[in-house]
Subunit: 203 residues, 2 copies
DNA sequence: TGTAATATACACAGACCTGTGTACTATGCA
DNA sequence: TGCATAGTACACAGGTCTGTGTATATTACA
């Protein structure tokens, strides 16, 4: 009957509802949508908080590294962002939302959110070092600010193209660091526009 | 007895609690903390949604314009941000938080949040035009992304100094637009450090 | 003083929330 | 076949929430 194990179906449903509706969504709803009794859910996750933490942890994924030049990989990241913003269910950054929703500053969600943000920054930093940037530490943080700013702006404006503005700003910063030589290269072709299958990776 | 009119005390308390705890805080709590009966609250604001909208509208304030050179005014804005981040009750951007919390995309909060973000961007744009930037429209958006990114990062990292990273990025962008001539000028002195009286203006 | 507006205390309806208890059923395995 | 594991259905406790109803008190003003 049920092709996937119960705990996985619970997590998938929790992901969809927590991200789409916020962590205020009720446990009853999650169980019902997952096609599972509430009792079973509580047997797998002893409290709602446990489920929230599992949901966030599941979103901690690696960013795919290619063999393109460092600056190009960084700029490509903003293209991925734009696709994520254009996705129908886009609702901002899951981690930032969780931190904002859960008022308790000692909640485990805070540490996971920090971990996620640091992961992306370290990914930037490694690429910047590879490209020979003078201050990878500082520049990686600046690039991360552009990413987070684009996420917030895309949420408020409901406009995916803010990712392009972030990308242009990133290009200027990379140019100033000596990582990009060519001029803006015109708006880089109207984009291949492959629609995202399910969920783009922005957290 | 009560020095201020009731409706104002309600709004002040709502501001404090909605911002500090999120809009999930109960109406009972707001009434109790404001020292008024719940019935009176509902006489002034016929629903909680009305109160939320009034709370957000109250945060729509102008940004103080000085007579400093445009680029300097923009960079000073990031210093204000850093002070806001260092404030004890800092919990991110009230508007972004509200949009993230209220799942309904047609909620009035969305329009108010957009209005607030656009206001700051237009303030940037006017200054950029004054300074003769080649693309005020695009650059103003890029600067706004840095602001919003700094807010999100300050919230997650609990570190006010991200504002400084945003400021440095902004300086590079302004330099590339020909608005700032001098080199980084060293970390600009350790900052006068006047503690914010009550609530810094970040929304 | 009298009258009208405004505030209060307090109970309540109806809904939803998390988490538990309990008895029943299906399934895999020896 | 027997038995443990895992899932289901369903009620319930105890709490919170928004919003209303009602009867009483305070205040402003003519």
């Amino acid at each position: 009957m049920s092709r996937k194990p119960a705990s996985e179906r619970i997590l998938e449903t929790a992901d969809r509802l927590f991200y789409g509706q916020g962590t205020v969504i009720g446990v009853d709803t999650i169980a019902a949508e997952a096609g599972i009794s509430k009792r079973t859910l509580y047997n797998h996750y002893p409290s709602k908080d446990t489920l929230i933490v599992a949901y966030l942890q599941r979103r901690l994924r690696e960013i795919p590294t290619t063999d393109a030049p460092p600056a190009q990989q960084i700029l490509d990241d903003f293209d991925r962002l734009e696709r994520a913003f254009g996705w129908d269910g886009f609702r901002g950054c899951a981690f930032v939302n969780a931190v904002a929703e859960l008022k308790d500053p000692r909640h485990a969600a805070n540490a996971i959110a920090l971990q996620f943000k640091e992961r992306r920054r370290q990914w930037f930093r490694a690429l910047l070092e590879l490209g020979g940037a003078p201050d990878p530490e500082g520049l990686s943080l600046q690039l991360l600010l552009l990413v987070d700013g684009a996420i917030a702006a895309a949420l408020v404006r409901k406009d995916p193209t803010v990712a392009r503005a972030a990308k242009e700003a990133a290009r200027v910063l990379l140019q100033a660091a000596g990582l990009v030589a060519h001029a803006p290269t015109a708006p880089s072709a109207p984009k291949p526009a492959d629609p995202p299958a399910s969920r783009p990776p922005l957290g």
